[in-house]
C-alpha cells in the first residue's frame, strides 16, 4: 500500500498541473473577453422597445443562466462537430457568463442618474452619442468589480471543461489520478493552486470594490 502522501508523486504531477494551469488561465481570459462583450450586447438588446425582441432574448438569458454549465458544455460539444473542445469551452463559458455579465451591465446602466439622460436630451445629443459618451462610460466603471468577481468565479469553474476533455489543471490531475490510482496529491494540489490564485485576486477585487464605491 502507498503512504497517504507521496512527495515523489507530488513532484511528478506538478509539471502537468502547471501546464494545465496555462489552459485554465487562457480559458478564463478568453471566456471573460467573450462574456464582457456579449454581456454588454445582451444588456443593450434587452432594453429594446419591442417586446418581440426582449421577451425571447429574456427567456434565452434566463434559460442559460439557470441551467448547469457542465450540461451545456457537453450539449454543445456533441452538437457542434469540427470545433476543438477548447474552442467549444471558450464559447460556452463565454456565453454562460455573458448572461451574468448582462445583469451587471444592466445594474450599471440603471445606476446612471436620470439627470444624465435628461442633460443629454437638453443638449440635443443624438441617442448613440448619449450612450457612447455619457451613459456607458459611467455605467462600465461601476461594473468593474462585478467583472472581477465573475472572472474569479469562471476561473474556479474552468474544471468543468474536463467534461469535454479539455486538459486544464483539474483534468490533468484527474487523468494523472486515474492512470496511477493515486488522486491524493494531484487533487489536493489543484485545490491549493486554485486557492493560491483566487484568494489574492479576490482580495484585490474587494479593494477595487471599496475604492469605486
Amino acid at each position: 500500500m502507498n503512504d497517504i502522501w507521496s512527495w515523489q508523486r507530488a513532484a511528478d504531477v506538478l509539471p502537468l498541473l502547471l501546464e494545465g494551469f496555462r489552459i485554465t488561465v487562457l480559458a478564463t481570459v478568453v471566456g471573460m473577453a467573450i462574456a464582457s462583450v456579449l454581456g454588454l450586447l445582451v444588456a443593450l438588446v434587452r432594453r429594446a422597445p419591442s417586446r418581440w425582441v426582449t421577451l425571447p432574448v429574456g427567456f434565452l438569458v434566463e434559460f442559460i443562466r439557470s441551467t448547469p454549465l457542465v450540461v451545456q458544455l457537453v450539449f454543445v460539444y456533441l452538437l457542434v462537430p469540427g470545433l476543438s473542445s477548447l474552442t467549444i469551452g471558450f464559447l460556452v463559458l463565454g456565453v454562460h457568463y455573458a448572461t451574468y455579465m448582462s445583469e451587471v451591465y444592466r445594474a450599471g446602466i440603471d445606476a446612471v442618474p436620470r439627470g444624465q439622460w435628461e442633460a443629454a436630451t437638453a443638449l440635443n445629443l443624438p441617442r448613440a452619442r448619449t450612450w457612447r459618451a455619457v451613459v456607458l462610460p459611467q455605467a462600465i466603471r461601476k461594473t468593474l468589480p462585478g467583472l472581477g468577481n465573475y472572472a474569479i468565479s469562471m476561473f474556479k469553474e474552468t474544471p468543468f471543461l474536463f467534461a469535454i476533455g479539455v486538459v486544464e489543471m483539474f483534468t490533468a490531475a484527474q487523468q494523472y489520478g486515474s492512470s496511477n490510482y493515486a488522486y491524493t496529491e494531484a487533487i489536493t494540489m489543484v485545490g491549493i493552486l486554485f486557492l493560491a490564485a483566487s484568494y489574492p485576486t479576490s482580495v484585490l477585487v474587494r479593494r477595487l470594490e471599496t475604492r469605486l464605491a
Binding site: E62, T67, F75, E157, F162, A163, Q174, I187, L195, Y199
Partner: protein, 242 residues
Amino acid sequence: MSDNLQTLGDALPRLGDAVLVTLQLTLGGAALAFVLALLLGFGSRSHRGAVRVPSRVVVEFFRGTSLIVQMFWLFYVLPVFGFRLESLACGVLALGLNYGAYGAEVVRGSINSVPAGQWEASTALNLGHVHRLRRVIFPQAWALMIPMFTNLLIQLLKGSALATYILLHDLNYFTEQLRRSTQDTFFSFTFGLLVYFAIAYLLTLVMNALEVRAKNRLGAGPTLREVLRIAPVPATAKAGAA
C-alpha cells in the same frame, strides 16, 4: 420525433428517480449550506478572534478552492484517510460546504447592512446581545438575505450536475442516457435542460414567496396572500384551493 417521445415515455420512471437525486443533492446541500452560512456568517462578525479567525479561514478556503475539486477530493482522496462516504453524501457535503461559504458572506453582509439606528435602539432598550440579534436584527437582515440566497440556490442546483461524475444517477446522467437511447443529442439535451430550468423556476417561486413574506413582516410590500390574488381567481379554483 415520435420515436424520441416513445423512448422518453419508457424512461419516465428513471426520470423520476433522476430528478429525485438532483433534488436530494440540491435541497440537502442547501440545508447544510444554510446552517453553515449562519454559523460562519455570525462567526465572521464575532469580536472574539478565536471564533472570527477560524470562520474567516473556513469561508475563504471553501470559496477559494473549486466546487468540483472539493467534490472529487471527498470522493477520491478522503477514503485514503479512512473515511469512505457514499456518493450522495459526498455530493451534499461538497455542495453544502461550498455554498455555505458563499452564504456566510451573504449573512455577514446582510447583518452589517441593518441600519445602525436599529442596533442603537436595541442598546437603548438594554436588550441583550443574543436577544437583539434574534428579535431585532436578524428578521430585518433576513429580508435582505433571501434574494441573494435565491441566486445561490440556483447556483447550487446547477452545481449538483457534477454529481454525475461521482457516479450518481442524477438529471445530468439521465440526460446522457436519454441521448444514448434516442441517438438524438438536440432532443435529449434540450429536454434535460428544460427539466433543470423547470426546477430552477419552481425553486425561485418558492424563494420569492419567502421574500414577499419576510418583507411584509417588515411592513413593506403586500402580504403573500395579496400577491397570489393579484390575478383574478375563478370561483372554482378558489374553492379548490381552500
